[in-house]
């Protein structure tokens, strides 16, 4: 039976989006649970589904873990009153939350999440769009996410959202530079002379069958990670929100489903960010440095594919945990500290890092 390839792609895309949204929902739950554990609380532990919650032992256990919590959380966003204040610019006000979620979901297209090795040894990347400029596409689209925040702040026509929007845009611009420069060493190394030039995330992940890039480019990894926190508006860089100063920043005037879109958008950005960090610096689906699925002899067929996806998702979840862990540990930077860190520390550092690695890589590529 042959399917129209376009329809197949649509089905794949739908599956990926559903999976990402589910991850978002459970990321919210994880956030609540981790925050409560760190703060010596219990966290959501009451919501029970009638049937599954009634199973002895397992039901109460899942209920205590809050497994069913995302459902009422989501329903709450749907059923609450959707207030559009009279003083807002309606068109942009409604467009902003869409604009903040759509780029996050679009970038999923170029993020590979595993590999499928046929019996013949042919490696097929599990990715929606295996484009050559993957990383560039990802940076370009994910930067669009800031428009959602800026438009929300501006169209709300009130002071706190406005300040939040301004801060968000300033922060995004400052940290995107350092972020872009910090990955250049990775791309330099992957594109060794004699090979076909690529910025494909799948190729970058496959290039880490020896050292992971986080190991021999630790400075790049740290700078990229810090910028990732800033780009996703997470603490300690949640300038756009800073609820203690700006009520809740850019989404102060939003309620109900529109707020829900911002909320999901933030977590979708985090998930994509974690994926990208895993692919660039943590070896993608390679289980350990110098150990690939191929050396373990478990790379073939469906099992190998499932294993690679599992390892990749495991690493991604570890990154998500790091995001949350940091959030509940650190206080927020002051605005001027954020700017100083971005412009006068991270940017020069990333440029120096680039030059140093350019020289090292030139030496390695020519001498060896």
């Amino acid at each position: 039976m042959e399917f129209n390839p376009i329809i197949v792609k649509f089905v794949y895309a739908a599956i990926v989006v559903v999976v990402i949204m589910t991850f978002c929902a459970y990321a919210v739950l994880a956030e609540r649970k981790i925050s409560s554990w760190i703060q010596g609380r219990v966290g959501p532990n009451r919501t029970a589904l009638p049937l599954i919650g009634g199973i002895p032992v397992l039901g109460p256990f899942l209920t205590r873990l809050g497994i069913f919590q995302p459902l009422p959380d989501g329903l709450k966003f749907l059923f609450k009153e959707d207030v559009v204040p009279a003083h807002v610019n309606k068109f942009y006000f409604i467009m902003a939350p869409i604009l903040s979620l759509v780029p996050a979901l679009t970038t999923v297209a170029v993020v590979p999440f595993g590999q499928f090795v046929t019996e013949a040894g042919e490696v097929i990347p599990l990715v929606l769009a295996n484009v050559n400029v993957g990383l560039l596409f990802l940076f370009a689209i994910s930067s669009l996410g800031v428009y959602g925040v800026v438009l929300a702040g501006w169209s709300s026509n009130s002071k706190y959202p406005f300040l939040g929007g301004i801060r968000a845009s300033a922060q995004m611009i400052s940290y995107e530079l350092a972020m872009g420069v910090s990955v250049l060493p990775v791309i330099l190394w992957v594109n060794a002379p004699g090979k076909e030039g690529t910025m494909n995330l799948f190729d970058i992940a496959q290039a880490q069958n020896g050292f992971w890039f986080a190991m021999w480019m630790p400075l790049s990894a740290i700078i990229f990670l810090v910028c990732l926190f800033a780009e996703t508006n997470r603490l300690p860089f949640d300038m756009a929100e800073s609820e203690t100063e700006l009520v809740s920043g850019f989404h102060t005037e939003y309620s109900s489903f529109k707020f829900g879109l911002f909320f999901v958008g933030e977590y979708a950005h985090m998930i994509i960010g974690s994926c990208v960090f895993t692919l660039l610096f943590l070896g993608g689906w390679n289980p350990l440095p110098f150990v690939t699925l191929e050396t373990l002899g478990m790379d073939k067929g469906i099992l190998g594919a499932a294993l690679s996806v599992g390892i990749f998702l495991g690493k991604m979840c570890a990154m998500m945990f790091l995001f949350m862990w940091v959030r509940w540990t650190l206080p927020r930077f002051r605005y001027d500290q954020v700017m100083r860190l971005g412009w006068s520390i991270l940017l020069p550092l990333s440029i120096a890092n680039l030059i140093a690695y350019a020289i090292i890589i030139f030496y390695l590529d020519t001498a060896l």
């Binding site: 703060q39 010596g40 532990n45 862990w325 650190l330």
Partner: protein
């Protein structure tokens, strides 16, 4: 070194990581209840003495002293056929409006008969305003019996029966 942030961030992260595994310090409220300290000022209640007699003599001092005027007493006398007749008076109706009560404890302080006590119940809820007014029956139900060394009624009864004393 501190300007680098990272070492201190790592230290902070290790602190929070240790916290992850510690037991929660919170109580899961409706199932687990906090231990109430002695002399806690909870909901004001009326108490009976160990002989089952109501101690309140409806002197209305509490009604007078109550800052938010939450107490309303209708004084009455004890019926002739009662065992306790002629000894003292008793309230016909005693109402404390818990929407007004501020838990100051002045009623307990002022009561000459030690009949009104703020005990350890701390959560009151109801669907209507009327439900939040505790009547006499409810107040005795909440109050129960407290130990009492005075046995005032016994002494009074003896005095009344044997003559003399101050009836």
């Amino acid at each position: 070194m501190e300007k680098l942030y990272l070492p201190e961030i790592a230290r902070g992260l290790s602190t929070t990581f240790r916290r992850l595994w510690e037991k929660p310090v919170t109580l899961e409220y409706p199932e687990q209840r906090p231990t109430i300290p002695e002399s806690y000022r909870g909901v004001p209640t009326l108490v009976k003495d160990p002989e089952g007699r109501e101690k309140c003599v409806s002197c209305q001092l509490c009604e007078f002293v109550c800052p938010p005027k939450a107490i309303r007493i209708t004084p009455g006398s004890i019926p002739e056929e009662s065992d306790y007749a002629h000894v003292e008076k008793a309230p016909q109706e005693f109402e404390i409006d818990m929407l007004r009560c501020i838990y100051c404890g002045m009623c307990q302080e002022v009561c000459p008969e030690e009949a009104i006590w703020l005990q350890n119940q701390f959560s009151m809820s109801g669907y209507t305003r009327k439900e939040m007014v505790n009547n006499k029956e409810k107040l005795y139900e909440l109050g129960g019996t407290l130990p009492d060394e005075h046995f005032k009624w016994k002494k009074k009864k003896e005095a009344a029966e044997k003559g003399g004393g101050h009836h």
